[in-house]
Every structure is written in structure tokens, then in C-alpha cells.
Amino acid sequence: MAKRTVRKPKSKPAAEKLVKLVRQVNTEQPPKREVAVLDQQRQNPEVWRAVSDLRELAHTAILKPFAPAARTAIRQRLEALQETLGYAESPAIERLLIEQISTSWLHLQLVQVVYANGDARWEKRLTAAQGRYLKAIEKLAQVRRRLRPDTVQVNIGAPQMNVAGMLNAPRKTRNQKKSK
């Protein structure tokens, strides 16, 4: 049996500092001075670089078993998925969450394929991957609802759509859209 060795990616100090700060500040009455420090820390480019490095590492690891042509096709599919979630016109934090969705979607696809091939050991991994994917979607909806108050969530059957700016539209236009 192959030896179970899992290589852990190195932690970036700035990112770890942010995680620690959030834990301290995330209370019912966050102290203003610490919130200001946190605000500075979250804009630290090193934190964002750490996230993008980790994402690239995750993509490379997930796509490792695929042929180069398939990898390119999958990356294009990921970009298309990000575009449908409004990546281009979103602020940085939403972009991060959209990337989170696409990464967890990619992982979920891979786990689903392996599980469908009959490996029962992957059942827990499938549940975890589905949970991660749904959580990422939930986070994006949560942030959009809070930071873009004029975003309306419309559920038509299974797909979920976030429509920005609809609340500011005249009532007549809104109703027309709804009736469609």
C-alpha cells in the first residue's frame, strides 16, 4: 500500500496574521481601532497573493491527472463559469468568492467522477466537496446581499440568479421582468 504522505503548503505570515485578527475582532461589538487595523491588513497585497498562489496550487493539483488539452478546456470552462457569476464587474471580495465557487465546483466534478466509477471510499469526500461548493455559493450570496443592497435574488426552478440594480428600476419594469 502506498505511504500516506500529504504535503502541506507553507503558510504566509500576512495571511496568518489576518486570520488571527479576524478571530479577535469578530465579536458582537468589534473595537473600532482593531477594525481599522483589520481593514488595513485585508488590503495587504501579500494576503491576496497568498490566496491566488493557493488557488493556483489547488488547480494544478486537481488537474494533474488530465492531459494538457483537457486541462486547457477545463480552465476555459472555469472561466466561463466565473463569467456567468459576473466576475468581470464584481469587486475584489466577490471575485475571490466566485473563484472559490469555481475551484470547489472543479473539485466536486472530479470527486463525482471517481465516486461514479464505484469507489465507495469517496462517499465522504463527495459529501465534503458538495458541502464546500454550496458553502461557497452561500458566502457569495451573503456578501452580495450585504454589500450590494440593491441585488435581488430570483429563484426560477433550480437555477439561482442574482439580479443587480432591479430594486432601483421603475415598478412597471420590475413587474414585466417578473411576469416573464
Partner: protein
Amino acid sequence: MGWEDHRGKRYYYRKRRVGKRVVSDYIGAGPYAEQVAANAARAQAQRAKAQARLTADREVEVILRKLDRLAAALTRATLLAEGYHTHRGEWRKQRHGQKNRAKA
């Protein structure tokens, strides 16, 4: 693995572990044994491949968990900086309340 030579002839045995001992089960010789050996080799290769895939996924999982933690921290930091706070696990906007309104 599994093949043993006795007086110039090859015989196929299946090995299994019983407690601390390894027990050999005689399978046979000739085309039938060749077939069984080929099947066993194929099954072992599949098991090794599945194990490698599992190990690779464990590595991915570690990275994803780290990524989740960082993304969650950045999301929380953004909401806190925008004046939100958590109340019983739910994000709420910081309101000024009666006292502050009276001062204003």
C-alpha cells in the same frame, strides 16, 4: 509475485496473511494459472491507482481547506470593515442605537 519454480516448472500461488503468518494457496499451473495471475495483477494495478488518486485528493483537500480558511477570513474582514458584526452567527449592520441618536 505468486509464481514459484519447482523442478523447472512454474506454479502459481496466492499469498494471504493469517495473523502474523503468510499462507500460500495453490492455484495451479498452465493457462488457467496464467489467467488468474493476469487478473490478480490487473486488480493490484487498479488498487494502486485508486490509492494514488486518494493520496492526491488528500493533498488537494489540504490546500482547499487552507484556501477556505483564508477566503472566510477575508470575507469576514471585509464585512467587519464595512460596519457589520455577527449576532448569533448572523451578520448585522452596526446601528447607532437610542443613546447615540440622542447625542446626535
